[in-house]
Amino acid sequence: MEFLNFLIILWAAWLVWRRPERERLAFRLLVTSCVLMALLFLLGSRGSLLPGVNL
């Protein structure tokens, strides 16, 4: 899934540079990538969402 996320990021960056009129799509890809990144982190840390130390 990390590979997919980098592809999404590449697509968004390409649009911003070469197809700037597609800003709306590029921003949606950016947000999608942020959400995917957050979900993947939560997938790896869901057993203890807060740091495992004395809070």
């Binding site: 899934m1 997919l4 950016l30 969402l49």
Partner: protein, 492 residues
């Protein structure tokens, strides 16, 4: 905003992108190619966050500083710090040199991720601080040579990251691993994993979600305990703590040399009592705040001479000494109340290994070994009965063990274990640890030399025991209500 000012802002942003990509993002790929360093699933999240911050900066280069871009980059900075803290917490408290994976300039990648996300927020703050008015947003900016280089550099480095991600984690639905293997460009070495999808409970605190023990809520019937066919110890008589105490009795110890008693309460009261349990010789109420955290006191012990040791349920300890020359002004910061004749020698924390993340409800002192002894109580998260011993001199861990069974003792079933006992009082005499359990009203006798439970006795009739003491041939079990059961001390 004037055109030159906007140009300067865009130039600064382009360099921010280049620096971010050239530093941590490209550096991470180079580490992988040169040294085989491979990110774990949490590292991937942090790396992706840094890439996304650079991407947002490219949006600003192209379209100007729209509010949603600024909002998103601040969110990424905050989320990145959360990720770095969550990840670092797995390793920060370990021993010297025991970090995880590669370190760069003396710090591991999860620490660098925290530093970079903090820096990003700081840079945003500085840039905004020096912008007198915001550039007009909404129009597409032409790319300059520096901007084009930033875009191209970004695409090349992120493509390299994508290739590394493909080799290291695989195509969807595979995801990063908790413990990744060395990066290789040889497909025969690639390990693609779905381990992280395995179902397990979602939790805020994980193994740190340990409730304070509640001895009042345990099953008291010895017949339901994990040990079978235990001999009974009958209560021969009752005594009582007649001295007035503030709070509920939570621990009691006896000094065999003087016959005096040491009582502690759940309201942080410490009382030195006479041998008749009727007169308070000294008393303090310890201030639990503003220093080492103290949860309710759970055990007490005489530590030779006049030193009094008290332990909290969280294994924090306080050492006290009766002192007729105590300076009340100096001790004010340590005590909520005092009779003016007690000095605090120090306070700290017992650090355990096997009993980590477990509370204790007892404290004993072994004068022969000059060691403190605690016994952990089980929780839904951690079901272990661990005897921990700490050197008197430095209060560091000397040894720990999970006692085995001897003396013909057998468990009532394969699923039963000694960890079902909730030891709420303990004392050491003649090389044996006498530990009374509120659960199943049982007295465990642990031979400290062989590290085995050599005997166990059902003690029907006791209710919420909080301490145990030896007085010659007698064994005394104190209850939270202040009553003390007197029993014949079983022969070794």
């Amino acid at each position: 905003m004037s055109a030159p000012a906007e140009e300067r802002l865009r130039t600064a942003l382009a360099w921010v992108v280049i620096a971010l990509i050239a530093g941590p993002i490209a550096g991470a790929v180079l580490l992988g190619v040169a040294h085989g360093d491979s990110p774990c699933i949490l590292c991937w999240g942090q790396r992706a966050s840094m890439v996304l911050i650079a991407l947002v900066a490219l949006f600003v280069l192209r379209y100007g500083p729209r509010p949603r871009y600024l909002g998103l980059v601040v969110l990424l900075g905050v989320w990145g710090q959360y990720m770095a803290l969550r990840h670092s917490a797995l390793h920060l408290a370990r021993d010297i040199g025991q970090g995880f994976a590669a370190s760069i300039l003396g710090a591991h990648t999860y620490i660098w991720a925290w530093f970079i996300h903090v820096t990003v927020l700081a840079v945003i703050g500085v840039l905004l601080l020096f912008v007198r008015e915001m550039p007009v947003a909404g129009t597409v900016r032409e790319t300059r040579r520096l901007d084009r280089f930033a875009f191209l550099f970004f695409l090349v480095v992120v493509a390299a990251n994508a290739l590394q991600a493909f080799a290291s984690t695989g195509p969807p639905p595979f995801v990063g691993q908790g413990d990744p293997v060395r990066l290789s460009l040889d497909p025969r070495h690639w390990v693609w994993s779905l381990e992280e999808y395995q179902p397990y409970p979602i939790s805020w605190r994980g193994s740190w979600a340990v409730p304070q023990p509640d001895p009042a809520a345990v099953e008291a019937d010895p017949a339901r305990g994990p040990l079978q066919n235990l001999p009974r110890l009958a209560v021969a008589g009752w005594e009582r703590v007649a001295a007035p105490l503030q709070g509920t009795l939570s621990g009691l110890a006896r000094d065999s040399a003087t016959g005096r008693w040491l009582a502690v309460t759940d309201r942080f009261g410490v009382y030195l009592l006479d041998s008749g349990l009727s007169r308070v010789l000294h008393r303090v109420v310890v201030d639990r705040g503003f220093s080492v955290q103290l949860t309710p006191f759970a055990g007490a012990a005489f530590v030779g001479g006049d030193t009094l040791a008290v332990v909290s349920t969280n294994k924090s300890w306080v050492l006290l000494r009766p002192d007729s020359a105590a300076d009340a002004g100096r001790e004010w910061r340590r005590f909520r109340e005092t009779d003016g004749a007690v000095t605090e020698l120090g306070r700290g924390r017992f650090a355990t290994v096997r009993a980590r993340q477990q509370y204790v409800l007892s404290l004993a002192y072994d004068p022969a070994a000059r060691e403190y002894v605690t016994v952990s109580v089980p929780s839904p998260r951690h079901r272990r009965l661990v005897v921990s011993r700490f050197a008197r001199g430095d209060r560091m861990l000397s040894s720990e063990f999970l006692p085995r069974l001897s003396g013909g003792l057998t468990l009532a079933g394969e699923e039963r274990s000694l960890a079902e006992y909730v030891v709420t009082g303990a004392t050491v005499a003649d090389g044996r640890l006498y530990a009374v359990s509120a659960a199943y009203s049982t007295l465990l006798v642990v031979d400290l030399a062989s590290r085995a439970v050599s005997a166990a006795y059902a003690v029907p009739g006791i209710r919420r025991p909080v301490g145990v003491a030896v007085r010659g041939p007698r064994l005394l079990i104190a209850q939270a209500d202040g009553r003390i059961a007197v029993l014949e001390r079983p022969a070794p």
